[in-house]
Amino acid sequence: MSLTAGVVAVQGDVSEHAAAIESAAAAHGESVEVVEIRESGIVPECDLLAIPGGESTTISRLLAREGIDEEVKSHVAEGKPLLATCAGLIVSSSDANDDRVETLDLLDVSVQRNAFGRQKDSFEAELDVDGLDEPFHAVFIRAPVIDEVGDAEVLATWDGRPVAVRDGPVLSTSFHPELTGDSRIHDLAFFE
């Protein structure tokens, strides 16, 4: 029985998530079909879901315009897994401290956009993540930081600030696990 994995594809680095999901599934001997989500009606068919990196203002606007936002909320309410990275974290949070982004309130954290600065401050670093035996090579690009954690569990911190969290079926990172060819975060989110 093949799993259907949806990647929200209204904007952002979609193909990178698709490749990481396929690689994580293969490592678990799971068969998976990845579908791109640009319109409503597809999320309900999905067993698992990813919201990629990109621009949170653009993604949030198009999710609402296409009617995908409510479907993603139902997906999480049903307890199905979601991985949201960077812009995905902002969109999934309970509060982005910015009225330019309509958040979906899928995990109990508030975030600050671009908290590490502009692109010149973007960086890569080795990160210890709860649940992973070896450090993860994390790429932070104009990354948000989690400033308040409610019920969510913190899986990793950078410079004392939470950068990876889990809240029920939702795993979310302020960095980009889809950019390095290491699918262990996708594995944690979907197959463990």
Binding site: Q11, R100, W158
Partner: protein
């Protein structure tokens, strides 16, 4: 865990190309002031390109076109939360350094401005900021990537509102990649020599079946249908220059182009998106343009 901030790796190829990947599926809009930047962000642009005048106005005005006033770029940076890019002249390392110092997130080494060096492009690897460069064909694209470009865009023919040349350039790039895919190692080496392209990048492109960096469309895109056409030709996203603020209703046109990129393969939705948005920029047909007025031949 090494948390010493001095040890962080910034401005690496991974970080630069990663930034470009975050723009995929998005529309990057030319803006000349903070009011336009505000509108661009509100209609869903993934980033704005700050410049002194849009290409159509640069064309009309003539004279030497240079980077924007850094104070204006900083105003735009303060106005919006999305990335801000800036245009430097081809080969003008100092304009690029000044733009980087203002805090722009990406620099466009652009043929729209008057080239500062007729033989060399900027050594883009020396910068922390990522660069985007224009190309008309695969050899040109790979030369720019070799110099450190983290994103390639078609040159098209900027400021015309005629999509013809962007289509031509994108077809050139895609068709050359398809040919490379069918070649042996030695044929690819020969192709690299003939097209003045670095051999390692030729092999990498052939193996990936696409450019090793993000590939956007630019130059003459003026309507939602134009944007959809460039997505159909395999572009990762769209730059719109004069097409937004040269349109009758910039907000309606901007909104429609953003939605058209997401729905590029759905004609019914495109029909709805393209309806009642006012007229696009007037423009100049590429075929009517005298050779000396074309910008695409600058910096190859």
């Amino acid at each position: 865990m090494p948390e010493d901030l001095e040890d962080l790796k910034r401005g690496t190829e991974l970080v630069k190309r990663g930034f470009a990947k975050m723009q995929k599926g998005g529309v990057i809009m030319d803006v000349v002031n903070r009011e336009q930047a505000r509108i661009a962000e509100d209609v869903g642009a993934v980033a704005v390109m700050s410049l002194e005048a849009v290409p159509a106005d640069i064309r009309k005005r003539g004279g030497v076109a240079r980077m924007a006033d850094p104070a204006d770029v900083e105003e735009i940076i303060d106005e919006v939360s999305i990335p801000v890019m800036g245009k430097s002249r081809i080969g003008h390392t100092k304009e690029a350094e000044i733009l980087e110092a203002t805090g722009v997130d990406m620099i466009d080494e652009s043929e729209v401005l008057t080239p500062a060096d007729d033989r060399y492009h900027i050594d883009k690897r020396e910068f922390t900021a990522p660069f985007v460069c224009g190309a008309r064909n695969l050899g040109e694209a790979l030369r720019r990537i070799d110099e450190g470009a983290a994103m390639i865009r078609t040159k098209g023919e900027a400021g015309t509102g005629d999509v013809n040349q962007a289509v031509h350039h994108q077809r050139n790039i895609k068709s050359a990649i398809r040919k490379l895919e069918g070649m042996t190692h030695e044929e690819r080496e020969k192709w690299a020599r003939e097209h003045e392209a670095p051999a390692d990048l030729v092999h990498e492109t052939a193996e990936m079946g696409r450019l090793p960096v993000v590939n956007f469309a630019a130059g003459g895109i003026a309507t939602p249908a134009d944007a959809a056409l460039m997505m159909h030709h395999g572009c990762d996203g769209i730059f719109v220059g004069s097409g937004i603020f040269g349109a009758e209703d910039p907000e309606a046109m901007g909104t429609a182009i953003v939605e058209a990129v997401n729905n590029w393969d759905d004609p019914e939705k495109l029909a709805e998106i393209s309806s009642n948005i006012g007229s696009g920029m007037k423009g100049d047909a590429n075929a009517d343009l005298p050779e000396e007025e074309k910008m695409q031949g600058r910096g190859v």
